[in-house]
């Protein structure tokens, strides 16, 4: 498992290929890439700044990955999240999961993103045509994360 929080840009294709890393027990790799859009909530977005909570961020991501590993038979999980200034079109986040079979890889990738959106200390501040604004949390993200709670609460045996 690799968790990285960095300002530097990354190559999603290289990240996806690195997940397999010649481990011939891996039969399925699933990757998610989140990008900065140029439009959000009715306004044009020229760029954004990603703030995070140093010290807390990696710990929160590690906890999410550990929970995914507890729920599914995963052979590797990589999470990479950028911080600092970002432009539209740039990748913000990469989550990659590897398993012997596709179901675990798909489900775990979905789970890690849902938990990352609601439990990892990142905040987006958009630079819009009408000035800067903090992005507000969405109820739909909370609902998406809650789906997994009904299956098994974090920490349950």
């Amino acid at each position: 498992m690799a968790i990285r929080v960095q300002a530097a840009a990354f190559d999603p294709g290289a990240e996806l290929n690195a997940l397999h890393a010649a481990n011939v027990g891996i039969g399925a790799v699933v990757g998610f890439v989140g990008y900065v859009r140029d439009f959000n909530d009715g306004r044009e977005v020229a760029g954004m700044f990603l703030e995070h909570a140093p010290g807390m961020t990696e710990k929160a991501l590690a906890k999410i990955v550990a929970e995914a590993e507890r729920r599914w038979p995963l052979l590797r999980v990589d999470v990479l999240h950028r911080v600092g200034a970002l432009q539209p079109g740039e990748p913000i986040v990469f989550v990659g999961t590897a398993s012997a079979h596709r179901q675990a890889a798909f489900a775990a990738c979905d789970f890690v993103m849902d938990y990352l959106k609601t439990r990892a200390p990142f905040w987006k501040k958009e630079d819009t045509t009408e000035g800067p604004r903090w992005v507000e949390g969405r109820a739909s993200d909370e609902d998406a994360a809650a789906r997994w709670e009904s299956q098994c609460r974090p920490g349950c045996g």
Binding site: G34, L50, E51, H52, A53, G55, M56, K59, A60, K63, H81, I92, V93, M113, L116, K117, T118, R119, A120, P121, F122, W123, K124, K125, W134, V135, E136, G137
Partner: protein, 82 residues
């Protein structure tokens, strides 16, 4: 002593990223500390937001989380990464 951090919109509204408060036996849980901060009035009303999130010693927690002298806590708005 309790170290309190504020992130993102809260940090901006308060004009403060962190502060140290002397330990007070009234701080049984994180919400007790929050009530003391809310009593400052004005910009501190942001800490009354319904979707406020908080952490104790770098771990997300609820407002009912017990506090101890020496803890580091954080208050912040709903996270929006990904």
């Amino acid at each position: 002593m309790i170290r309190v951090q504020y992130f993102a919109r809260y940090r901006e509204s308060l004009g403060l990223d962190s502060e140290q408060l002397p330990w007070d036996t009234r701080f049984a849980c994180l919400d007790d500390l929050r009530q003391v901060l809310l009593a400052r009035g004005g910009a501190w009303d942001v800490l009354a937001e319904r979707n406020l999130m908080c952490a104790r010693n770098d771990e997300l927690c609820s407002l009912a989380e017990p506090l101890q002298d020496g803890d580091q806590v954080a208050f912040f708005p709903t996270v929006t990464g990904g």
